[in-house]
């Protein structure tokens, strides 16, 4: 009886959805996440507040979806399966046979993306929201991050198969060895993100810190 009244998605206004995405992304980059309000999004989108509340449970949810849409639009569409959106950085993880080169390529792309002004605001906002709110965090992880991280794992497993990586290592932990430091530096703004930095990161992680015999 207390059904939450799921609205009819068929009748949904595509025009409104788009306008809301645009408004949300624009506001976040312009005035920041906390000063972005649902009322503000609605006003800017020329939309009633209820139209937002009808389709999304929270500000974070709106922004997440808007961002997902932005990222999907930016990606070279996969003709075989357009639904197989995989994440911002690595639509497809290269496998040239040279693990080090491939990792460097991908991490450089990640740096470029995190630096892109269109992405920086929303990404920061969503990450922060996810850190504090477990629910948002989970959705953010599953929909946006995990697909990308999974590709690292696959590439590492492939490297293990070809003997380019120690077969005893856990690919998931190894993945975080690359991604963790990058995010750390970006999130906490400790030092600038450069291609040179990620290159060295890859080298350190692959060869270890021990003196090279």
């Amino acid at each position: 009886m207390a059904e939450t009244r799921t609205p009819d998605a068929n009748r949904r206004s595509e025009r409104s959805r788009r306008a809301i995405y645009d408004a949300a992304l624009a506001l976040v980059t312009e005035v920041g996440y906390t000063r972005t309000t649902i009322e503000g999004i609605a006003a800017r989108a020329g939309v009633g507040k209820q139209t937002i509340y009808r389709w999304w449970p929270s500000k974070a949810a709106v922004l997440l979806e808007a961002f997902l849409d932005l990222v999907a639009a930016a990606e070279p569409a996969n003709p075989a399966d357009p639904a197989a959106t995989t994440g911002p950085a690595e639509a497809a993880f290269p496998d040239t046979g040279d693990l080090e080169a491939d990792l460097k390529t991908v991490l450089r792309a990640s740096v470029d993306q995190l630096t892109d002004p269109r992405y920086e605001g929303p990404t920061r906002a969503l990450t922060a929201a996810g850190i504090v709110d477990e629910r948002v965090g989970a959705e953010f992880l599953v929909k946006l991050l995990d697909p990308g991280l999974r590709l690292y794992g696959e590439r590492l497993r492939s490297a293990q198969a070809t003997g380019d990586a120690d077969p005893s290592i856990d690919p998931r932990i190894a993945t975080e060895l690359f991604v963790g430091p990058l995010l750390h530096r970006w999130l906490l703004r400790t030092l600038p993100l450069t291609h040179d930095y990620t290159d060295r990161l890859v080298e350190y992680a692959l060869h270890g810190l021990r003196p090279r015999g």
Copy 2:
């Protein structure tokens, strides 16, 4: 810069300051950061709102200071120099001569701290606030994070001196090789934080992912 009427710090009520710290930390752990309000802190501390606004510019600033105080109080006071507060995890970085063991010790301590229910709430809140607000982030970094990170650097340099680490590596980047993945996992809640995880992390980072010859 329009300095706005700095109050007289001599006349400040110590009792109020303490009450505000306590209330802020309690509320953040009880109801979370976003539902912690300045009004709520004031009410719980038995303090006028203005007393908070007089001394802090924002909710985040209150919490940061309260957390700093908590951490300082928890640390084993350094008898030689009690003012030498160094940060939450590593009041003093061990140097037993065994780099790997020392790193594992410190990272295990970090895991314990990030897992401690008294610390988790505030730390998440502050990190998130810092991600979104550059000012807060900078203060958070300088006052809380950097001191700890610096110790890693010193230990690594010491290891380079004794030949336990490659002298060509950049200690700062190397530091992030340990701390980054840890924070990544904790912030994004990808997988549980365990001592076993950090042990392997240290091993991977020191020896690299390449097959061990």
Copy 3:
């Protein structure tokens, strides 16, 4: 004139309006005007503060309207023209042909009203507010006072026509000869308001202070 976003009066909640009237009047009589706050009215009326600020510019405006409503409700409705609200004291000014008797009747009624505990508080409050704030004063005058005063003028003109009053006198000034002293005594609390007092007032004003030849 920077008209600030006029709300849609059609959608206005009648229930809220009534509750606000009631709360305002009750509070003024209970705790006095200065200790009546908008916040208090809102709380007592079970209404958001914004609902008050949306429709009234000030506490005085709320009270004025509430009082106007009270007075209109209390008046014997004029069947011929229910909209012809004329003011508190004299819905219709009697004209029995005996000017002195008519004036005494009306002034006695005024005394009764100014003495009525339901009216005294609001009336004092509004008068005081109007004395200090010209805008409030003007509205108070036009909406509440003037209609009543006008009736005096008409009755006096009628008396001039029948030869009961000197045709050379200015009815407006003459009106104030009755109303002024009454208000003076009531506002400043110099001496108690009684029917006997107003009777003598009428006599003095009609016959003058000169020795009666």
Copy 4:
């Protein structure tokens, strides 16, 4: 024991008192009564807030005293008895033998005073405060108004003695016949205050409204 701690008036700073008077009067005329605050007076007077609270119970009390001082200073000092301050309008009520002329003179002076920009603000403020707060009203009446009204009474009694006024009339009610309409017009801003107006007022009151036989 709960004595309200009456301070030692001998040690009182004359300089502060004066500064407070000046500040209070200035603020009332500049920004109005309600926007005049004790804090504002203190700041403008270069005085601690406590110095005000020590000597006066309320904002109205400060203003009343300040106004009393202003009025006393403006009056032609009575050499016989400098303490015999009698009130704003009528330091001494004229008695030329011509009642009508004397009343006109005094009322014209009252008009001038109520119109004087230095007096208007404070007088309105104090009257309004007194209307709402009975205590303030009583003090205002006794200290400022009554002395003046008493003089009317005396002059009228003198007129009764010389046969210029009906001996049966109550001088107090008769006094209000002049003062009431004047204050009514001034307080409620019904019509402008002019000398012509008060002249006619005197005539009406003395001769009555009846047709002059």
